[in-house]
């Protein structure tokens, strides 16, 4: 209980800071919207093409937007040496990490919630055909992006080229998660509920989230203290 309260305190702090400065939020959201807009100019999205590319395009946008957002997660703690003060506090490193991941998760979900209808308008895509399944896929895949991104944000926080390093490290790690999310989203946009082989992708997302959450929680103290 104390662990969860500590994690929530850290998450609240991050959310309050971000809503006040809107640094990462504005950059990430505008970047996502600009990519969606530019892609819609790049080709004339017919119904058939939209059906084929919807999953891939949407998750690439979410992944790019996520990298911008997640870069700031631990970097914001460098100002005034706040990271040192947090690490020295009695809050376990795992609670600190999960608090930060939770704040990132909420912010990224917010960005996705704005991008999804915009995607529908620009690409004439009906994303409401399987709303429950789409919500499940978004919740699972976004947690995967968040957990990996937050962990690598901690790992690269002291690197001078962290803005470059984070995407270079995160995207290869995210391949299984993004593949599953793209496959499922493409099918869901076409109105097909996951069944048979498609359910294996859902199981992969669940497994990915569990494995990387457990690994991150176990390793974060070593990452932060060395």
């Amino acid at each position: 209980m104390l662990f969860l309260r500590q994690a929530w305190t850290v998450a609240q702090k991050d959310l309050r800071s971000e809503f006040r400065t809107k640094e990462a939020l504005n950059a990430s959201l505008s970047f996502a919207l600009v990519i969606l807009l530019l892609f819609s100019f790049a080709f004339d999205p017919t119904a058939e093409m939209t059906r084929e590319i919807s999953g891939g395009l949407l998750w690439l946008v979410f992944a790019f937007a996520g990298a911008l957002l997640l870069n700031r997660s631990f970097a914001r703690e460098l100002e005034n040496d706040c990271l040192d003060v947090l690490v020295v506090s009695p809050v376990p490193a795992a609670a600190l990490f999960l608090g930060k991941a939770l704040a990132n998760y909420i912010l990224l979900l917010g960005i996705e919630a704005v991008c999804l209808p915009v995607f529908g308008v620009f690409y004439n895509a009906d994303w409401t055909r399987q709303p429950a399944w789409l919500a499940i896929v978004i919740l699972l895949a976004t947690w995967g992006i968040t957990i990996i991104g937050t962990m690598f944000s901690a790992l690269t926080v002291n690197l001078r080229l962290r803005e470059l390093m984070l995407p270079m490290l995160v995207y290869p790690m995210l391949i299984p998660c993004l593949m599953a999310a793209m496959q499922l989203t493409t099918a869901l946009m076409a109105g097909q509920a996951p069944s048979g082989d498609q359910l294996a992708w859902v199981r992969m997302l669940v497994g990915f989230d569990i494995i990387f959450t457990a690994l991150s929680v176990a390793l974060v103290e070593t990452v932060l203290i060395g």
Binding site: L2, Q6, T9, V10, K13, R16, S17, R20, T21, E79, N80, D81, C82, D84, V85, L86, V87, V88, S89, P90, V91, P92, I225, G226
Partner: protein, 232 residues
């Protein structure tokens, strides 16, 4: 009672030994002034004591426990090189946050009490980024003391402080020492540090050159220690 025990601590950065077999003890209620030239290893040692870095060899025990233990952390207060407060939060939000993180019973009350003690109650809702340097420093002092730590680790605490913040910090340190807290502070401001110190530890190139009680001779002539035990 021994509050802090440092045993044969070595720290390497690559091949470079920043600390070479440091050992000393501090009893409860002691104030240890950690002295040494720039690059001697004072900050490295303080970071290890605070649990921010692990020693390559050797061990640190605080109140008989590992310094990474959550209970030890709850009893430790740190003032490092940075002020350790969030610019985009208000003074009150900062103190309430740290009170909550340290498990202080009533974080709101503790935050208000320390805002009053540091003379910041009138600007409680002001964002820290709008504060003057002196106000930020006083808030940082409040942040380090609000959970009433039994061990205070201070890295150059008097550097860049204004008169008001120095007086506040000295007052709080005296109060904490009278209450039985242990203080370890690294500093170049010998006079301020030696006035408070009960013990001194001089580090020269990562080695402990001298550790012992602070004598009247040191107080009269702060440079004596460096001339006697330091580098030529």
């Amino acid at each position: 009672m021994t509050a802090l025990s440092v045993e044969n601590v070595w720290k390497y950065y690559g091949d470079f030994p920043a600390l070479r077999g440091i050992s000393f003890e501090a009893r409860q209620g002691a104030c240890v002034a950690l002295l040494g030239r720039n690059g001697a290893g004072k900050t490295t040692l303080l970071r290890i004591l605070a649990g921010l870095s692990r020693p390559t060899r050797g061990s640190v025990r605080v109140f008989g426990r590992d310094c990474l233990d959550a209970e030890v952390r709850r009893q430790t207060g740190l003032i490092g090189h940075g002020i350790g407060i969030y610019d985009e939060l208000s003074a009150y939000e900062n103190l309430r946050l740290f009170a909550a993180l340290y498990g202080v019973k009533d974080p709101r009350r503790a935050a208000m009490e320390w805002l009053e003690r540091t003379g910041l109650e009138r600007v409680r809702d002001g964002l820290v980024r709008e504060f003057s340097r002196g106000m930020r420093q006083r808030l940082a002092v409040a942040r380090a003391f609000l959970h009433r730590p039994s061990l205070l680790l201070l890295d150059e605490p008097f550097t860049a402080l204004d008169d008001r913040a120095i007086a506040l910090l000295q007052g709080l340190l005296k109060e904490s020492l009278a209450g039985g807290a242990t203080v370890v502070m690294s500093t170049h401001q010998l006079r301020e540090a030696l006035e408070l110190a009960t013990h001194v530890a001089l580090i020269v190139k990562g080695r402990l050159a001298h550790a012992g009680e602070r004598t009247a001779e040191m107080l009269e002539d702060p440079g004596w220690l460096y001339r006697t035990y330091g580098e030529a």
